[in-house]
């Protein structure tokens, strides 16, 4: 059986089935929805960081753009929610396209520039002068499309597509070429890989994923402010979850989200006073002892992790 089919059958399908069944078992649907959103975002970070080495500290810029792309389509074009979600993805991609010059930077310089660009997008959207278009800082209320149940299913579709992209990257020449670019762009270029095109493609795919996630998030919550959807927490969580599990794998970010976001909620509900302490210690432990993520526990023993 080809490995791509195996990955789809034994990782992607079971995960989707679990999240399709859970709303019938567990009533806190928004928590499940947030799990799905973070699964999407962690895989989005995986696409750009895991396969190209660019750490997107301002990843929330695409997410927020997607949320506002959704809102503007609903408010001004009176589009249906599914159409608005597609527009949200395109809005994320558009911002990604505008920010492609950032790919000329690398390492910490790229991370900082990306963070600054996400703040720039936030302040652009929240500008009171754009009240007629984005509602500026005053927030949007999308009562016409309010349908949390449909938004949850749409999030699952986006998750399926995202996982499909990651499975493709993991099993294709394209993904291999991206990893070659990440390891040594000069050698990859000498070997015939179009470095710029590869990086831009991964960058736009990652932006599209975050934009779609922002779109379904806007659909679900329906009332939000720029501060809600451009909150730096989305970037930080997505990056930490992906790193905790292990990037450049399919399973790493999934494990990272399930464990860390699970612990996050568990602490939040039981011992909120120790929240930051426990979470901080967990992340410090990761950085000190498992810099390559949880999957490295397996890969150290010479085993392959999909």
């Amino acid at each position: 059986m080809p490995s791509a089919i195996r990955h789809l059958l034994f990782i992607v399908v079971p995960l989707l089935v679990v999240f399709a069944i859970l709303p019938g078992v567990y009533e806190n649907h928004l928590m499940l929805f947030n799990f799905v959103v973070f699964l999407i975002l962690a895989q989005g970070v995986n696409v750009i960081y895991g396969f190209t080495g660019y750490l997107p500290f301002g990843y929330v810029g695409f997410f927020g753009s997607g949320a506002y792309g959704f809102a503007m389509m609903v408010m001004h074009a009176h589009a249906s929610a599914p159409v608005a979600v597609i527009a949200a993805g395109l809005a994320g991609m558009l911002i990604g396209l505008l920010l492609t010059p950032l790919l000329r930077l690398s390492g910490a310089y790229f991370a900082i520039a990306n963070l600054a660009s996400s703040l720039a997008v936030l302040h652009f959207v929240a500008n009171p002068a754009l009240e007629d278009i984005t509602r500026g800082p005053y927030g949007v209320s999308l009562t016409a499309t309010f349908n949390p149940e449909a938004a949850y299913w749409a999030a699952l579709v986006v998750l399926a597509l995202t996982l499909g992209v990651v499975v493709y990257l993991k099993n294709s020449r394209f993904g291999l070429a991206l990893q070659a670019v990440r390891e040594d762009p000069v050698s990859a270029g000498m070997a015939g890989v179009n470095v710029v095109r590869m990086r831009v493609a991964a960058w736009l795919a990652s932006a599209l994923i975050a934009g779609l996630a922002g779109g379904v998030y806007a659909w679900y919550v329906s009332v939000f402010f720029p501060d809600n959807v451009f909150s730096g927490t989305f970037s930080i969580f997505a990056i930490v979850f992906a790193l905790f599990g292990g990037v450049a794998t399919i399973i790493g970010p999934i494990v990272g989200v399930l464990i860390l976001y699970g612990v996050y909620n568990l602490i939040g509900f039981t011992t909120p006073q120790y929240f930051q302490l426990i979470y901080g210690l967990l992340i410090m432990g990761l950085v000190l002892f498992l810099p390559a993520g949880l999957v490295s526990l397996v890969t150290r023993r010479g085993r392959h992790v999909p």
Partner: protein, 415 residues
Amino acid sequence: MIGRMAAAFAAGLMLATPVLAADPPAEIKIGTLYASSGRYASISMPVHSALKLWVEQKNAEGGVYVKAFDKKVPIKLVAYDDQSNTATASTLYNQLITQDKVDLLVADSGSVLTAPAVAIARDHKMFLFDQTGTGASFFSKDNPYIALMADPVSTIWPKPVADFLTHDGPALGIKKIALLYSTNEFTGTQANAVRKFIKESGAPVEIVYDQGVPTETTNYTVIINNIRAKKPDAVIHLGYAPNDIAFLRNVNEVGVKFKWMFSIYAGLETELLEKNVGVKGLQYVYTYVPPSELDYPVNFGMKMPEFRALWNKTFPDGKVEFGFNAVAGYTTALVIEKTLSVATSLDQMELRRAVFSLSGQLKTLDGTFALDETGGQIGELTPLGQLVPNEHGHLKFVAVYPHEVATGKPVYPRP
């Protein structure tokens, strides 16, 4: 015949017997969130502390009277820490409704942390006791599941400021106004309202400087110089407490003497600003006069001196500031208490009916509780006042507008 008579007797007995109240639960569960850290902690903690204080006070008395059960029932406050994080807040609001099955849902403080609750409450058909989320987008005719408890909606809040400038301003020589605001929903909406009220007044005043700046702004030096270049007679600064602190400190550092200067939090969180700006920096600043300075007639709950004494006794270390937000939290608690005393069941729509029945009737230490048809708060307005030094060098509030509540004359220009 006998059977028919017996049936008629039984029916008559049933009609004559008063309806017995349902079995009371062991406790009434009130679910809420608070932010112990992050950007909104300074406004959230006083509100939450006041709510907790009320719960402890009522439970010490055996609980609150609940009309639905015709007896006192203890309260259980189920509270989670959202750490000023809106995604976390969303999950926790859901947790309160779906897992903890709270009877009443109370939002965290401020519009940003209230926003996630609006849609969730509506989705679950839970009535949301919105404490201080003044966002205009929360209130619409098609959403019956929300009402604002303790602050006026942002769209009418700054009316006394604009009215003073347009009615009394020209006589004082105020003709040019500078408007500086932080670009967030709370202060952005107030800026819009100021603009609208001034425009509609037709008064001979004009806005010569109108600028929004990011809420994260911490240095206003260049902006202050830009404002000075426009030679305004009055400067309105609308921002959160950290913005007010930075703005007022910078004004003093630059050495500019604006003739008339307004800031929101100089009045709402005076203790906090005094600590950070100093008494001198706050002298003659115009601001909202908080209810703690106004001694409103009260027909329910503690009066201001009693509440302040209890607060100081409960929080002697002064780590949680007594101010406008503390009063807001206690006001929410009073609305809840009164609602439970008039609602005939804990059904969410009945709770809504009970809350709206209090509109115009309930007078607390925060003023008169009054709602519009969408649930927006239109009572509890804060007059315009000025912080004036007293003979001991401390600051005291002088209410200057509206005239019917004025306690003194405005000092203009600022010495």
